[in-house]
Structures are given as structure tokens and as C-alpha cells.
Symmetry: C2
Subunit: 170 residues, 2 copies
């Protein structure tokens, strides 16, 4: 652990600041110590679509951009003042070499990210938008109070107007 920390850099982002912008190459992974971020893409109509949120104790990055070193399609933005431990791609590669055990650690972290995504997908496939909302709220109610409605709507892939509708008939 001590060894690993040498490769990390603490960094602070203010609310609304971008950790990553579209078209730039994501050369880092961030571990969120405190704060909250959102990752979103912009579609052809200019609408922002939130892919996921990142909260305390999660790693955030754009894996595709990070690994393939290609321009990112997504934005990552702090929704609160956010403190992270950042590791660059360069440093991570070094760390893998010098701390072989780290391979296992990040294999497991990656597996857990994958599980989280698959679970979300399953939800979206199995449920209609009403159940999606209620189960989202019941599972994440503490966290859902930290983001505005319209962002929850975006995450649930519905319009804010329709979410408002759903909330009424709950």
C-alpha cells in the first residue's frame, strides 16, 4: 500500500469542474475520496445523457479512452467539490511492474465495475420506467438526495417532465 501511494496524486475539483472532457484522451483513473461526479455523453440533439454517477470509494475513468488511448466520448464532471486520488496511465503501468500484486487488485476492481454495469443493464431491460424509478430511489435514496431530479431523469433515460409525472402517481 505504501508503495502504491507513491504513484498516486491527490487532487481537488470544484463543483462543476470537469475531470474529463469529450475528445480529450483520458489518461487517468481517479479514486473518489469525497464528493460526487457524473459521467455523461451528448447525443446528436445536444442532450446530455448521464451514464453513471461516481461516489465515495469508487474509481472513475473512461475505460475505453484510457485503455485504447482514444479520444473520449464522455464528459466527467464534479457535481460537488470532490477530492480524488489520481493515477496516470503511465504511473499505473509502472506500478504494475513494480508491484505485481496490483494486477490482481485491479483485475478485481475491474470485475466489480463490470458487475455493476451488467446489473444496471439487467434492470433497464427487465423493468419499465416506473419500476426503474422506484427501485432506484429505494436503493439509493441517500445518494439521490444529492442530485437534482433532472439528472436522475437523465440517468433513468426519461425526460424530467415524465419523471415528474411518475412521482405524482407513485
Amino acid at each position: 500500500m505504501d508503495l502504491f501511494f507513491k504513484y498516486l496524486k491527490q487532487k481537488k475539483y470544484n463543483k462543476k469542474e470537469f475531470l474529463l472532457e469529450q475528445d480529450s484522451i483520458c489518461n487517468f483513473k481517479c479514486f473518489i475520496i469525497t464528493g460526487l461526479v457524473r459521467a455523461f455523453v451528448i447525443d446528436e440533439k445536444g442532450k446530455e445523457n448521464i451514464i453513471h454517477f461516481g461516489i465515495e470509494n469508487w474509481w472513475v475513468s473512461n475505460m475505453e479512452s484510457f485503455i485504447l488511448e482514444k479520444p473520449s466520448h464522455l464528459f466527467i464532471q464534479a457535481l460537488e467539490d470532490t477530492t480524488v486520488l489520481l493515477i496516470t496511465k503511465e504511473n499505473l503501468e509502472l506500478a504494475y511492474v513494480n508491484i505485481p500484486k496490483l494486477e490482481r487488485v485491479f483485475r478485481i476492481i475491474t470485475e466489480n465495475m463490470l458487475i455493476a454495469i451488467e446489473r444496471k443493464n439487467e434492470y433497464y431491460i427487465k423493468m419499465g420506467s416506473k419500476e426503474r424509478y422506484t427501485s432506484f430511489i429505494s436503493e439509493l435514496k441517500t445518494f439521490s438526495q444529492r442530485v437534482p431530479q433532472y439528472m436522475i431523469a437523465s440517468y433513468l433515460q426519461i425526460t424530467p417532465e415524465y419523471l415528474s409525472e411518475l412521482r405524482k402517481n407513485k
Copy 2:
């Protein structure tokens, strides 16, 4: 590589045979040598929803079930006669210990799975069902000839009837 092969077992599944059924625990990963499989979930209405296909040179498994050793929500079924190299969870853990380099290999495989899923999600979020179909076909046309329309519809999250409609107005 030779070392690793000792942990693998070749296995054949006939068309329509299940590699994994709902409620059983997925204790394997399979590398597809030849053939084609589909992974799907059944929703409350009894409808099959295809999450992804697995083709030659891909690993298939249900990561959530495999890693957390919990009952699977999904089915994995051969759509053609399919030959795989199978590794059990047990053997994989042994292999990790005896071939430390394998940690790196599976970290990278997992990362690539994650990228594939994220890319699919991005497609679904950014595009309407029409563009989803056309881009699916153009990217995967060789492969799309190996599966019936109604399964493509299921994968695209639309009804076969509606897909038929889309094809007409293309």
C-alpha cells in the same frame, strides 16, 4: 500457455443446449473456439431479452454469478453447435496462484469486456432504434446472418414486428 492449458477442458454443446440456466451458479468461464451463443434474461412478462451474443474468440460467462457465487439471472444457450475451452472457478483460482502472469491476462480480458459493454450502452443511449439497427447491421453483417431476425430484435430491444417495419423503410 502450455501450463494454462492444463486447467482448461474442451467441451461441446449442441445447438439449443444450455451452457448456463437461470438460478444455477455459474462456476465457469468459456472461451468459444467455434460456434455461437446467446445470453438472455426473462422478464416478468416471460419475454426473452438477449443481453449479448458470444462468438468465436470471446469469453462468455455470467460475471456476477461467477464472482459472487450467486444464482444466475441469465441463461446462456448455444445457437449453433459450439466448442469451447472451459475453465472452472476453482481451476482459475489455482491457475492465478501458479501462473501469476495470468492475473494480468485476465485483467486485460476483463477490461476489454468492460469496454465492449460500455460501447454498446453508449450506442443505445445515443441512438434511436432505427440508427441502432442500421449501425448494428453495418458493423456486424457477417454475424447477423447467423441469427434470426427476432433475436436481433431482442438484442436491439425492440419487437420483431417493429424491426420488420424498420427494415421496410430503410
